[in-house]
């Protein structure tokens, strides 16, 4: 299974995450994560990180998501991995900006950035390669963007100075890392949402019996559980050493489909209680909704994968895109 590479490490992490999330109102959890060195997981120590590999980072991201902790862990960690600069209280935030061009060291366009208050640098995945832009610089203005889940900002770049970042990694490699981590967060949040829903269905009684006695409720739980197993298998597939080209995209899309199904069903089975601000379901479901279109929209990724299938034909589908 994708989330338990070493169960001891996972257990340790879970304890740390539980401790963090139990400190009452989440408030400003990011500085705590930085302080604990968690922002540097997945980045080599000699690059200023905390060490550990992608699988460790996947475990961390999954546990944070399962605990309903909202933080820029993915943005910070991928930003650090891409730029080679360790993440701190302020981060380098990766932005998929495929229709933005760098002309004479300057960029013009509009992009959405996640966690704008915490970001000091944009790491743009542009048409011409990766380039960094200082968020506080001239020719850059940020305004709030309505969303669920992570806070977002709309950034207007009008001839802003952009410094190219030579490969490695390439834009595609960054996209792949983001896709895997978004999948990990979705699977974590999904697992917690399903568990909470099952607990509720077993405890809550109506018509003289638990909700879990109602056949339609049983079917709905079965469907959520199956979708979760599928997304988990896809994520495990993307974490293979020899993972083929399509694996990260497939994991991302499986996670998104699961997120839609689980968020909807978890709310449905919770009845009114599930929409109360005080009840801890909405941090999970808003994260699930948000993650579906993070970095690149689900529909866009699907189009890319479909185009690759069309271009490569059946043998590409079999060997690389669905292997």
């Amino acid at each position: 299974m994708a989330d338990t590479r070493s169960s001891e490490f996972a257990d340790e992490l879970r304890a740390v995450v539980q401790d963090i999330s139990s400190r009452g109102d989440a408030g400003d959890v990011w500085p705590t994560l930085v302080e604990l060195g968690l922002a540097g997981v997945g980045v080599d120590e000699d690059a200023g990180g905390s060490g550990g590999d992608l699988v460790d980072l996947v475990t961390l991201v999954g546990e944070l998501a399962a605990a309903g902790v909202s933080s820029p862990i993915i943005e910070a960690s991928v930003g650090a991995w891409t730029t080679g600069r360790p993440a701190g209280d302020r981060i380098a935030s990766p932005v998929d900006a495929g229709d933005v061009s760098v002309v004479d060291g300057r960029v013009t366009g509009e992009v959405l950035v996640r966690w704008p208050e915490v970001s000091e640098t944009l790491v743009l995945l542009t048409r011409d390669g990766i380039a960094t832009v200082a968020l506080e610089g001239p020719n850059v203005s940020t305004s709030p963007w309505p969303t669920v889940g992570a806070p977002m900002g709309l950034v207007r770049l009008t001839g802003a100075a952009a410094s190219p970042l030579p490969a490695p990694p390439t834009s595609d490699q960054v996209r792949e890392r983001l896709a895997i981590l978004r999948s990990a967060a979705s699977v974590g949040a999904g697992r917690a949402a399903v568990a909470r829903t099952i607990d509720y269905a077993l405890a809550r009684e109506q018509f003289g019996a638990p909700l879990a006695a109602i056949p339609a409720v049983v079917s709905a739980i079965g469907m959520m559980r199956a979708q979760l197993d599928l997304a988990d298998a896809a994520l495990a597939g993307a974490l293979r050493e020899d993972a083929p080209r399509g694996a990260a995209m497939a994991a991302r899309l499986s996670a998104a489909a699961m997120a839609t199904a689980v968020a909807r069903t978890a709310h449905q089975l919770h009845g009114a209680m599930g929409v109360a601000q005080e009840y801890p379901l909405h941090p999970l479901t808003t994260a699930l909704w948000d993650l579906r279109d993070a970095d690149e929209r689900e529909a866009q990724i699907a189009r890319r994968l479909g185009a690759a299938a069309r271009a490569g034909g059946e043998s590409a589908v079999w060997e690389h895109l669905s292997a």
Partner: protein, 367 residues
């Protein structure tokens, strides 16, 4: 643990077998081939290349590989729509069951016959009054000198008219609870008292049958495992039956044709991408099930999830073909064959409604 290079080697073996037979003009490809495409010559060729009984001991003609290797092989076969029906049931579930539970005489008699493709098995499970509720079977076996006498009726028995042997689930004790009086037998299809009559399905094809047993003598050694332990044994068999790529790839030949025909038409890219992602995830889930089987586990709920979601995918491929497939006779033929076979996908081997319940009960138990 099966390494990647072993899997690759076995995939290549299958591909070269198929390529050879294609070149010789003896290869037929179609959707739902594992049920409807019966070719003793192909099964014999598989046997010659050591591709049957892959996970079984060498002394029975096996290759002592894992379930993961078998998955690699069966994936490649179904990808090509290969005519594997003759050996499928024996190789997939009866052989493994006899290996786990059969007495030595039964193992010696049957297993080499499966790996050499000489024996063809059909499944005597469903009855007119026992489909989803398999434990309700009333086909009965009572003890006589030297063995048993079997009487009853089985239905939806695919390829019984071509089989040499039947696996039969029968009641050996009607006094207690229905799950407790069941036993499993291997019966000769040419034994006295066995009669087969065809049931043609909506595609006009004949694979289903009704099989009646009238006082059929079954020698003692043909009992699989223990008397009265049939239910536990068959539930295990169902894990094997449900957790394989034939629950995902039944309509792959159609998907392949549609993909090849799309060329520059980009209108369906998003939908195609969604389908490819589902295919990838389902293939990985099948792999996870196989890995767990190799670890000696019984991944009942995962296998159920794979079948339930996989058969939905198989049908969604047909719908995609309607929207995106090129209007040529070959694609139309594949669509027709797939559509006519499609109602069976989510019913056979465990209906989706029942599977959902199994998955949910597992989740609720652990909750």
């Amino acid at each position: 643990m099966t390494d990647a290079s072993t899997q690759t080697q076995y995939r290549e073996r299958v591909r070269s077998l198929i390529a050879e037979r294609r070149a010789a003009g003896t290869f037929s490809s179609r959707p739902d081939s594992w049920l409807r495409s019966f070719d003793l010559g192909f099964s014999a060729a598989m046997a010659e290349r050591g591709l049957l009984g892959l996970s079984w001991p060498r002394r029975f003609g096996g290759a002592e590989q894992g379930a993961v290797t078998r998955l690699a092989v069966t994936e490649e076969l179904l990808r090509a729509g290969a005519p594997v029906a003759a050996h499928w049931i024996g190789d997939r579930q009866i052989g493994p069951s006899i290996l786990r539970h059969g007495n030595p005489q039964l193992q010696e008699e049957i297993l080499p016959g499966i790996t050499s493709a000489r024996l063809v098995f059909c499944l005597g499970m469903s009855e007119p009054d026992a489909g989803s509720d398999l434990a309700a079977v009333t086909t009965a076996a009572h003890r006589v000198g030297g063995g048993w006498r079997l009487t009853g009726r089985k239905i939806w028995t695919s390829n019984a008219h071509l089989a040499t042997h039947a696996y039969v689930l029968a009641r050996t004790d009607a006094t207690g609870r229905k799950h407790e009086g069941l036993s499993e037998f291997v019966v000769d299809m040419d034994a006295d008292g066995v009669a087969v009559s065809p049931i043609v399905d909506m595609s006009g094809e004949h694979h289903f049958n009704e099989v009646t047993f009238e006082d059929v003598f079954v020698p003692e050694h043909r009992l699989i495992g223990e008397v009265g332990n049939g239910w536990r044994q068959v539930v295990e068999q169902l894990s094997f039956e449900r957790g394989g790529p034939e629950r995902v790839l039944t309509t792959y030949p159609l998907l392949a044709a549609v993909v090849e025909g799309l060329a520059g038409d980009d209108r369906h890219d998003a939908e195609l991408g969604g389908l490819i992602a589902r295919l990838a995830a389902l293939r990985r889930l099948a792999y996870a099930v196989a890995e767990r089987i190799d670890r000696g586990e019984s991944p009942v709920e995962q296998a159920a999830a794979l079948k339930m979601l996989g058969t939905t995918f198989e049908v969604d491929v047909i719908e995609f073909a309607r929207r995106a497939g090129t209007p040529d006779p070959q694609t139309a033929q594949l669509v027709s064959q797939s559509l006519l076979a499609s109602p069976g996908f989510s019913i056979r081997g465990g209906s989706s409604e029942v599977l959902l319940g199994i998955i949910a009960k597992g989740a609720l138990r652990r909750g």
